[in-house]
């Protein structure tokens, strides 16, 4: 069998979920989505209208306006790291989006990574976490081998906080190492300098293959103010490092252009000179098609309450083209589903946790909760992940996982070793991996299913993601273990002591709950972006297309020579 034996999965929503419950779940999520939209708007506003006007008064565009003009009309921009530094305070100041826009965009039909300093936030200065955010974007581009466009307009480090973004392994200077590594890997880098480009910022464009400067731009190791202080010279920054100097005298830039609009048009023209994409080639004669059941229904199918169950097949059916899917090893480890479908016409592998109860293979006629890692499931996804690696199939992990099974039986089975095997497998992956925290991402389950510490190229959270070592209630019980009986009831009868224990448990639970908020994770860069459930499919389309954009950058096998077929024959028997 060398065909990819896809079959129809999924049903009409009304066949498994009645309108009332669907609407109720949709409404619950709707409130969380409204908050997401509000917060996105808040970040996108930067420091507000006053600063936008200031940029316009200089005859420049804002960072987001630049991205809009750079991209192909009618295409969507996929921003990453929107919520980095969200809610953080630096003295009296905030740094929306850490003062930089990092986004996947389509330019001349090719996906690129755009890194644009937000000139409406402290003139594009680098805050604590800004270097990490830029490096994260560079890392994504390096892994996907998609071109990088830098739109530089940066006044340098935000000096009051300089010590927090300078000295460490991921300090500002590491951005330039990433520039170098991208160059070494043959990833095209194109820079436009559209304003200030001081000190560290000065290095960022230079390593790029092509450097454009507007007449308002200058690149300097030290700006006018510093020169005045150090050398008692009065001279403008434009005189020190404007296009007159860098395009003509120093050769640090290639081309000077009058304004932002012209520069952006020139960058589009540069991207157009790159080889066109291989996406259509790898579709193998077919084309992109929507899921048979609408992807936007995900928003009403997955309940916000993490204790409520849903059908994982119905989620997959709304993510793969036409709802066509090949489930691999369906009879083993039924708590997990793994298999292959197409996204935007391109082969894509999925692993997802089933919810609810599944048959317990260890005990005949008993059932056990899914959404947990057991021996069979771990072995299955480990083998599946290895086959994807061997075949060059991008792998998407859809997490809604409470953790590993625990207890005497689990230890006797050697779940530690099974888990380590999986971790080793995921650690040496070279083929693209993406992780989506649909809902729960708890404990070692988060690690085992390729959570961010295992280097997925991009990790997305949703408004209902819960990322934690354990649930708040679990930790509260563990903390007050000695004070509780077998039914987790407080033992003592002393009313004062009881009240103290109750309050303590409540506080532990609340603290953990607060930390599980996806915005907390996104603010710390513990996850790359928070997306609405109905955006998961468009995101996947972009990510998978990028995985297949280039040729020669990674292994892509045609299905005839997939080792996935061996796995299928070995587990299902020869047909």
């Amino acid at each position: 069998m060398t065909h990819v034996p896809l079959n129809s999965i999924g049903r009409l929503r009304s066949a498994f979920l009645d309108d009332a419950l669907y609407e109720e779940q949709r409404a619950e999520l709707g409130a969380l989505e409204a908050r997401l939209e509000e917060r996105r708007a808040e970040v996108q506003a930067g420091w507000g209208e006053k600063y936008v006007e200031r940029v316009h008064d200089k005859g420049k565009l804002t960072a987001r306006e630049r991205v809009e003009q750079l991209k192909d009309p009618g295409t969507r921009v996929f921003e990453v790291g929107t919520f980095v530094n969200y809610g953080r305070q630096f003295g009296k100041l905030r740094s929306p989006g850490a003062g930089v826009v990092t986004a996947f965009a389509q330019v001349e039909g090719r996906h690129v990574m755009v890194i644009a300093n937000d000139n409406t936030v402290a003139s594009g200065a680098w805050w604590p976490m800004t270097p990490e955010k830029i490096q994260r974007a560079q890392h994504m581009a390096l892994e996907l081998k998609v071109p990088v466009v830098y739109l530089v307009d940066c006044s340098g480090l935000f000096l009051p906080e300089q010590s927090r973004s300078f000295g460490g392994a991921r300090g500002a200077g590491h951005i330039f190492k990433m520039n170098s590594l991208l160059s070494q890997a043959g990833v095209p880098q194109i820079a436009g300098v559209l304003g200030d480009c001081i000190a560290g910022g000065g290095y960022m464009p230079i390593i790029s293959d092509r450097v454009y400067m507007t007449e308002q731009a200058y690149m300097v190791i030290a700006g006018a103010a510093l020169i005045k202080g150090a050398k008692s010279q009065k001279i403008t920054s434009l005189d020190i490092g404007g296009p007159e100097v860098h395009v003509h005298a120093s050769g640090c830039a290639d081309i000077r252009v009058p304004d932002d609009e012209t520069l952006l048009a020139c960058i589009r023209a540069e991207v157009a000179r790159l080889p066109s994409t291989a996406i259509d080639y790898y579709r193998g004669g077919t084309g992109p098609m929507d899921p048979a059941q609408p992807a936007r229904e995900l928003a009403g199918i997955i309940p916000s309450d993490a204790r409520q169950v849903y059908e994982a097949e119905e989620v997959l059916a709304r993510l793969v083209d036409q709802g066509l899917f090949w489930e691999v090893m369906p009879d083993i480890g039924r708590e997990m589903i793994c298999g292959i479908g197409r996204v935007s016409g391109l082969f894509t592998a999925f692993v997802i946790n089933r919810q609810g109860l599944v048959d317990d293979p260890e005990h005949a006629k008993r059932r056990r909760p899914a959404g947990i890692l057991y021996r069979g499931g771990i072995a299955k996804i480990s083998a599946f992940s290895r086959a994807c690696e061997s075949d060059g199939i991008p792998l998407v992990w859809l997490q809604d996982i409470a953790g590993f099974d625990i207890g005497a039986e689990a230890e006797r089975h050697g779940l530690l070793a099974y888990g380590s095997n999986l971790i080793y497998t995921n650690s040496e992956k070279k083929s693209p991996v993406f992780t989506i925290l649909l809902r729960k991402a708890s404990g070692a389950g988060y690690y085992a299913m390729a959570g961010l510490p295992y280097d997925p190229i991009v990790q997305l959270s949703t408004p209902i993601s819960r990322l934690s070592v354990m649930e708040g209630r679990t930790l509260a019980i563990a903390t007050y273990n000695t004070k509780l009986d077998d039914d987790f009831e407080i033992v003592t009868k002393d009313p004062e002591e009881r009240a103290a224990i109750e309050q303590g448990m409540r506080e532990v639970e609340q603290r953990i709950e607060a930390d599980m908020d996806p915005y907390v994770a996104a603010s710390r860069l513990d996850t790359d972006e928070i997306v609405r459930l109905d955006e998961v499919r468009p995101w996947l389309e972009a990510l998978i297309e990028m995985s297949y954009q280039g040729i020669g950058a990674r292994r892509v096998k045609n299905p005839r020579i997939w080792s996935m077929h061996d796995l299928h024959e070995l587990t299902e028997g020869l047909e």
Binding site: T286, G287, P288, M289, G345
Partner: protein, 448 residues
Amino acid sequence: MRIAQAADALGITPVFGVSEADRDAPYTRGREVVVLGKARATESYLNRERVVQAAVQSGCTALHPGWGFLAEDPVFASLVEAHGVTFVGPPAHVMAAMGKKTPAKRAMAAAGLGVIEGSEGVLADAEQAAEVAASVGFPILLKAESGGGGRGMRIARSLGDVHAAYGEAQAESAACFGDSRLYLERLLERGRHVEVQLLADRYGNVVHLGARDCSVQRNHQKLIEESPAPTVEPAEMARTFEAAVRATRDIGYVGAGTMEFLLAEDGRLRFMEMNTRLQVEHGVSEMLMDVDLVTAQLRIAAGARLELSQEQLKPRGHVIECRINAEDPARGFAPTPGKVTRFGPPLTPEGARGDIRVDTHAEPGYVVGPHYDSLLAKLLVRGADREDARKKMIEALDAFVIEGVSTTIPFHRAVLSSEAFSRGEYFAGELPGFTAPSETVAGEATSP
């Protein structure tokens, strides 16, 4: 039946996939047959997995989906291909793109075809609807992006109607299709239904086989078709042919397909939709151009290049087709299931070889079942010109003998004999020369 004949001509052994109800149908006699399942279409003809399984198990290399049921289902096309069987039709993704309103319209406009004026894709809200409506002119039609079958549609005749119509259409779309998105088009009420037959191979070679006028329809059910389309200005027709061929090539279409147009009172053809399958009325174009479309489909599926260039395709005369259904025109076209006791198609007169054609699966003793549609036969006649074809068709209808069930022959005779039909003065949806008997009798009219 048509497909089996084409397969025979090419030396291919056809296998019929049929439901239990059709297992003894006359056309299966002496043929290899696979029973798909029970008579209910959902357990046989509409069950994708069963059809694919039947094809794989009977060792078929290709599957022709016919012209109903799964023929325009891109999931089915993908499923067939995924299991190693060639789907006789366009690639699934092209079929899917043509099945969606906005992308199809956009692709056609890009290739230079006229389209019905309206919103650029989906509307944001009622305000935008009002704005677009004002710019394209009233009346307008609000339509569901995921809709079909006339549901989720509302007409607004003036600016004052837009808000209410938008709200109603949105609510109905949400209820019927789980998708409340709407788009808007100018409503062109008096027009003719004209369609262009196209044929493309896998290598970008595309030809058209003329245009059919199918304006004689009842409830969107076509009853009489003819070709060439009598009321289109030659310059507009030529421009449309050229753009239709270009569009077909641009979208990567393969096989036989039909683009449907509305001929509005201003004389312009505007694209409505593309049918990505062979249509029931394909015989009209076959007869006009002396080609066999089913054979061409099979050859193209097997990878052959188009045999004829556009220059080699020459229309001959004028062709009219009447669909003869087992329905009673006098009783609101109610289906008349039962046994056909006599069945005598008209004979081709001496010296008129190839000028009369009868496509039918019926014969004396054939039982019209209650499960599927009631089409008994298609009668096609060629004349030197339209008037000649019209006269010959009336003669052929007179000679056609079907007894045991009521048929639509009297209806066709009435239409073809009418002044309006012969002058070509009628609009799509009208039935020239046919007066429906009053559908309600006194007493019934007051009942709820």
